[in-house]
């Protein structure tokens, strides 16, 4: 076995297999357990980083998994796409676990921390596995494992009323998308006789898959990605998922799990590119989601919900980028978003931890004085999110925008530009409410300890400097896609030149909004929002009633239908016998009809 494959397998198996032993180590002492878990996280992160020298093209090695049925193999694939996603999971996972040492301490009174660490490690392993395999069935297995971890960790604080329903909702809503994904995988397997994504790609490029089947599979993959990456209309689970511990939100709902859908679409883009409607659908869904979520974020009062809608919005950008075939831009933004959004969530976590769990922006304010490091790092994250040059977010967003421009997708581009405007607005609103103004909480606040600020600083530097790595990043990515979809290596100079010479829409909009906000000090408008939402902001505040619609109309009517349906089970024996007789008659009629025609 090659060293690279061995390392990849270790990176998957170490957290998954050794994770459950947190329960055993806990028997020694709680401290040992925490050290054990964090150490596992760092080992995993190190293993993912050690994969960098082994980036090659295509599938590296396969292990037979189910020889008895279709010869399904567990294949490991080390290319730039997969390794980068694995590194994001491993490294951010390690940082989040480090951050958790202090952040989760108060929870240990009521809840089992072993469960927390075990599930977080299982998630990290699952995400790395999802990234590193090229077999679709294996990928789906990991896909569901991370979905399960997401559910379990959202429901982690089970004494709180909102946690468990939010977890269930997250699992079910993403699984509705997964119906499509699983069906799509099965259809592709049927059409090509293989589950290896590279073989499917070449079969698709050779035109071996009929357009009907390809279309069905494409729609299925799209549905799966929409569910996992929280795009309209299946985005409703992500805001509720904020019931999870904030560390988990940073890891799962900002940096990793939600990116899985984008990653899947990038991976499978060459398969479905032949379908004319497929990229267009991505483009529009992405653009609409980006705008919709950004407007909603403007009116939310829970800092985590603001960030959640911001995540949905940013994922919409990535989706739109895939829609015009800008795979590099989407992947670049994926990484840069993972870094700065994890940073922002951890920053919010730092605030919550130090203020005793306040997440309402009404009650924050004036924290700048007390939490200088959190504040500075938070600003770094926001600068990247808004897209101010020379933070990474600027380059990645600009790449998306200019590729949309080149692709001639003007209306989606316009939507994204407006979304950028709102992004800047909600970002600075959030900052202002949280850190500036007078202090509105009576709790004693001070700066977080080094285990928390450490990861913040590292992530802040990442969000500031990651774009400097563009040259090796693109070079490694260059040939991970089949012919026709090659990504050209890009030097740093080219990136800078490209970003500053193209119509720099992002910058313009972002800077203008930022300047406006800074000069007006945002005060008059923001702080006065204790009043009820106006007619204009009510739809935003209620998130366009989408969630309410799902609950009141779909779920409720389904349940009341079931309640009505229960009456059919009367418990009366005559009636039961009648059902048998009716069944017999129906069977006979059907068989007769089928026999005749």
């Amino acid at each position: 076995m090659e060293t690279g494959v061995l390392l990849a397998l270790l990176a998957i198996l170490v957290p998954i297999v050794l994770g459950p032993f947190t329960y055993l180590v806990e028997k020694i002492s709680a401290k040992a357990r925490t050290i054990y878990a964090v150490a596992l996280g760092f080992i995993t992160g190190g293993l993912t980083l050690s994969l960098i020298p082994y980036i090659t093209e295509g599938t590296v090695e396969s292990f037979m998994w189910i020889p008895g049925a279709g010869r399904i193999a567990f294949s490991v694939c080390l290319d730039s796409f997969s390794v980068v996603v694995a590194i994001v999971a491993g490294v951010i996972g390690a940082l989040v676990l480090l951050f958790s040492i202090r952040y989760m301490k108060p929870a240990s009174q009521e809840y089992s921390l072993s469960r927390y660490y075990w599930q977080a490690l299982l998630f990290i392993g699952g995400m790395i596995g999802l990234a590193l395999t090229s077999n679709l069935l294996v990928m789906y297995v990991f896909w569901e494992i991370i979905g399960f971890c997401s559910y379990a960790l959202i429901a982690y604080y089970y004494h709180k009323p909102e946690s468990v329903p939010a977890g269930i909702k997250a699992f079910i809503v993403t699984r509705i998308g997964d119906i499509g994904l699983l069906a799509g995988i099965l259809i592709l397997w049927h059409a090509t006789g293989t589950l290896n994504i590279f073989e499917i790609m070449s079969a698709s490029q050779a035109g071996l898959i009929s357009f009907t089947l390809l279309g069905l599979a494409g729609a299925g993959f799209l549905a799966g990605a929409i569910g996992k990456s929280a795009q309209f209309p299946l985005h409703v689970w992500l805001p509720d998922a904020m019931a999870a511990p904030t560390t988990i939100t940073a890891l799962i709902h900002a940096a990793c799990l939600v990116n899985a859908g984008i990653y899947l679409l990038v991976r499978s883009y060459p398969i479905f590119a032949a379908l004319a409607w497929w990229p267009t659908a991505l483009l529009w869904i992405g653009a609409i989601t980006a705008l919709m979520a950004a407007t909603i974020a403007l009116t939310q009062w829970d800092i985590k919900r603001v960030l959640a809608y911001s995540t949905i919005s940013q994922l919409g950008y990535m989706m739109a980028a895939i829609g015009v075939g800008a795979l590099l831009a989407s992947q670049f933004h994926l990484v840069s978003h993972a870094i700065f959004k994890a940073l922002l969530f951890l920053g919010a976590g730092s605030i919550m931890c130090m203020t005793g769990g306040i997440k309402d922006l009404h009650q924050m304010g004036g924290l700048a004085k007390y939490m200088p490091i959190t504040r500075i790092t938070f600003i770094f994250g926001l600068l990247s999110l808004v897209g101010i040059p020379i933070w990474t977010g600027f380059f990645s967003k600009d790449m998306i925008m200019s590729s949309l421009l080149q692709g001639g997708a003007y209306i989606p581009l316009a939507l994204l530009v407006i979304a950028t405007f709102f992004t800047a607005a909600y970002s600075w609103r959030m900052y202002w409410l949280a850190f500036q103004g007078e202090k509105r909480t009576s709790t004693e606040v001070h700066e977080s300890p080094p285990q928390m600020t450490g990861p913040l600083i590292i992530l802040a530097l990442g969000s500031f400097l990651f774009w400097l790595c563009i040259s090796p990043y693109t070079a490694s990515m260059a040939f991970s896609l089949p012919v026709g979809y090659h990504i050209m290596p890009m030097s740093l100079a080219a990136l800078i030149q490209h970003s500053f010479t193209s119509p720099i829409i992002v910058v313009t909009v972002a800077i203008i909004v930022t300047l406006i906000v800074l000069t007006l000090k945002w005060r008059a408008t923001v702080i006065n929002t204790y009043q009820k939402p106006s007619a204009l902001t009510l739809p935003l505040f209620r998130a366009y009633w989408i969630d309410i619609f799902y609950n009141r109309v779909i779920v409720k009517s389904l349940l009341s239908f079931c309640q009505q349906f229960r009456r059919l089970q009367t418990g009366d024996l005559n009636y039961n016998n009648l059902a048998i007789a009716i069944g017999l008659v129906i069977f006979l009629i059907m068989l007769f009809a089928l026999g005749v025609y």
């Binding site: 009456r567 089970q569 009367t570 418990g571 009366d572 005559n574 007789a581």
Partner: protein, 101 residues
């Protein structure tokens, strides 16, 4: 009219009576009788089949076995009915409606 057509008619009528009995009667013993009537229809059908196929040996074996099985299952059913009667003090199936929904 052939003799075997008469047989078929008898089978169908017996089956119909049995099913009607199962659907309409509310007395547990009557339900058992309904089941028995269906069993007789099936036995008759096997006898007819053996006769038509000239394979009476198998038909006879089958019918004997059916009678045996019928006897056992009726015994079990009757013992259950006794148990039910101990609870309800009646043979009406209307009372046996606690489990539903």
């Amino acid at each position: 009219m052939n003799l075997w057509q008469l047989y078929i008619a008898a089978i169908v009528i017996l089956l119909g009576i049995g099913i009607y009995c199962l659907i309409s009667r509310r007395n547990l013993i009557q339900l058992i009788i309904g089941v028995e009537v269906i069993a007789k229809a099936v036995s008759l059908s096997f006898i007819l089949a053996g006769n038509l196929q000239g394979n009476e040996q198998i038909a006879q074996a089958i019918v004997v076995t059916i009678i045996l099985i019928e006897a056992v299952s009726t015994a079990v059913a009757l013992s259950l009915i006794v148990a039910a009667y101990r609870h309800t003090g009646s043979l009406d199936i209307n009372i046996l409606k606690r489990l539903r929904g």
